[in-house]
Symmetry: C2
Subunit: 423 residues, 2 copies
């Protein structure tokens, strides 16, 4: 029970603010030295991590957590190696801080441009997987931000042990230890305290289920970069290459089902529905996917494989499972209207060989990631080439889609003058 | 009293959402046609505008508004011409919508880039000057956003008349009239209603005094792009060109005093204080500026001109008037510590000939605009070359500093594939 003690989160935030100013000035070499030392320490410290992890696993079993949750919690040798490798990969990325862009000369000779700078202090609130402790800290340190971490109570001992290794890395590089702080309590009021640290914490990034995010958005006085649902669509146009469409649908839906960028709804143009739907449904069913179709879909696939009747709420459901809703549409416009109404604006895909319709879809669909002839499963910071990912934003302001190092920074204006006066 | 009737702001927001989808797809020519027709109509409609403005002016006198406020309210011929010219200038700017950047090819042949798109629906809440009605609408329409405008009650009739001219412009170009909606009531609860339209309105931009902004930030469920104080510093380094420093101080403080980018605090390195302060204080005093200094400043300027004793609250005050606080510092670090503690992070200036100190200031000062050897008064969208300005953000997320057309947009990821599947 000692873990539920009160923690002075405000004092942590004040120390983080101080550390942030130092970290913002740290050069890339120093930050990388810290990240590499963190990685080394995690590996060296593996026996200790696993002992602490054992306490969490034991509690999880006692508390009757699901086998899936217990598995996510488990710090195996390969997961510890994976965390260390993640830290090394972040170290290898270019430093985003200090980059100057758009430097233009004004008619009066003054140069005006923008410099990329850290946001300051980032609060990360997450659940379950202890590796987030290392991943999130690495991205924040590399982008010059101090971070306050708050993990789920079920991973309390594991997170604390990981955080110790991270502090060792900061010390080795001579960076302030307050740059990475872990809220060491399972007292739930600590989250509320963190969300009230406006003026000290610049942004909150929650990583977890819908309930966690809803609570944070409702309570926070600090801007939140959030990820809501992933209700992703794949639209098969009348001019689609149907073999490609079949492969993209199967990959988008079944390559991995419990993730936000899996396709949840298949839209099919009526001109190709009679050909395409029987083929795709047969393969999806063979792969173990449950199908829920509109009336026309059910007529077309009749007798081949079972297709349940899609109910209105199906179009607004993120299954996170081997289930696909299917609707036949009369036109590209009807497909885009469906997406406008039901998409969570995460990722939507068109499959077509038709130039103008591809371009219209790209332009008109208002989602964080819009794709032509690619699997929705590519919507991911690593796949997009960001090198790392803090999460995927379904917000519009500041950063949209995968959040990499750049999303953890901002730009200030810089002016280089020679005594210019305003007239 | 009829102006205080209830308005269904939620229904307005729903119509705005629909209009936003159409406006986002409008090409640049159509949007420009609307802006030019708005400009023309404002000029043609000038007699009507001035009749309506007369009602506001009469009420302002009856209600005992200050002469300055009445002047700001007054729609003179030249101010109407100025509004029209502003619309034409926005029409002449490049269209930010649809721009594709960072299009890179991934190892699997998939191209990943970003496309600039409108935010959606913008709520603008402002006070007093009726020209904001036209300026804000122009920037929102050009950037493809629908806008809901809510002006101050003291300009009610003027704003409504301007909004009529704007609608005429939208109709002329065949754009949806719901793209620009003015909340036609002085009922104060309408602002609260607007701030609760989350999910329909994407961002709120308040333009007005501190009280207005504080109320909006406290109440809004929608992200706010805001401008707080402008406590701007000019730091005169030990290696400053003192003639330049004198000109920049006078320009920064006195070129216009009631504005957010005026210098409010002068910091002077001790090595040059004895030479610089008597000269600059004499000129400032001659220009009508009240001076409030630290003890050392008062000693150095002793007998020359009156310098009041600066009290602790002076360092945190935005005077918006011909008043300057002055402090002697021992080093660049002390200057930057002062700025870190007291700056509103709007605009801060160093005057120096020293390369490394100039570069350190540029890098280390965490303000929206950081300048070397230029007047703080340049911190402005027009002066920075943005072509227009919605305001200046002192926030860090999304947009920092002057907010032009780009600040009213966001970027989505686009993927152009050829059937790529995730492994």
């Amino acid at each position: 029970m000692e873990t539920t003690h009160k923690v002075d989160v405000l004092a942590m935030a004040q120390r983080a603010r101080q550390a942030a100013r130092q970290l913002a000035m740290a050069d890339g070499l120093t930050k990388n030295r810290a990240l590499l030392a963190m990685a080394e320490q995690l590996v060296e410290n593996a026996p200790h991590l696993q002992r602490e992890n054992g306490l969490d696993l034991q509690a999880a079993r006692t508390n009757g957590l699901s086998a899936a949750m217990i598995d996510r919690l488990h710090l195996t040798d390969s997961r510890i190696a994976g965390m260390a490798e993640g830290l090394r990969q972040v170290a290898a990325l270019p430093d985003p801080v200090g980059e100057i862009t758009d430097l233009k000369i004004r008619p009066n000779g003054m140069r005006v441009g923008r410099m990329r700078v850290p946001l300051g202090v980032i609060g990360v609130i997450y659940e379950s997987r202890p590796n987030v402790t290392a991943d999130a800290a690495a991205l924040c340190v590399k982008s010059g931000n101090a971070v306050i971490l708050r993990g789920g109570s079920e991973a309390y001992h594991s997170n604390r042990a990981i955080a110790e290794s991270l502090l060792h890395g900061l010390r080795t590089a001579g960076l302030p230890v307050d740059a990475v702080q872990y809220i060491e309590t399972t007292d739930r009021s600590a989250v509320g305290d963190l969300l009230r640290c406006d003026g000290l914490v610049d942004v909150i990034i929650p990583r977890g289920g819908k309930d966690l995010i809803a609570r944070i958005v409702a309570e926070s006085r600090i801007p939140v970069i959030k990820h809501l649902d992933g209700i992703c669509h794949t639209y098969v146009d009348r001019d689609a290459d149907l073999e490609m469409a079949l492969a993209l649908t199967l990959n988008g839906k079944m390559q991995r089902t419990g993730v936000c960028n899996a396709t949840e709804t298949l839209l099919v143009h009526q001109a190709v529905a009679a050909t395409f739907l029987p083929a795709v449904c047969r393969q999806l069913a063979a792969a173990g996917c449950e199908l829920r179709g509109c009336p026309l879909t059910r007529v077309l696939v009749h007798d081949l494989v079972p297709v349940l009747e899609a109910r209105p709420e199906d179009w607004d459901t993120e299954y996170l499972d081997a289930i696909l809703s299917i609707r036949v549409v009369m036109s590209l416009d009807e497909a885009m209207d469906h997406i406008e109404t039901h998409s969570s604006r995460h990722t939507d895909v068109i499959v077509t060989r038709h130039y103008s319709r591809a371009m219209r879809f790209l332009r008109e669909v208002d989602s964080a990631s819009v794709m032509i002839n690619a699997s929705s499963r590519f919507s991911d910071g690593f796949e997009f080439g960001l090198g790392a990912e803090m999460g995927i934003s379904t917000d519009k302001l500041h950063v949209r889609g995968p959040v990499g190092l750049e999303g953890l920074t901002t730009q200030k204006y810089i002016v280089m003058g020679d005594g210019q006066l305003r007239q």
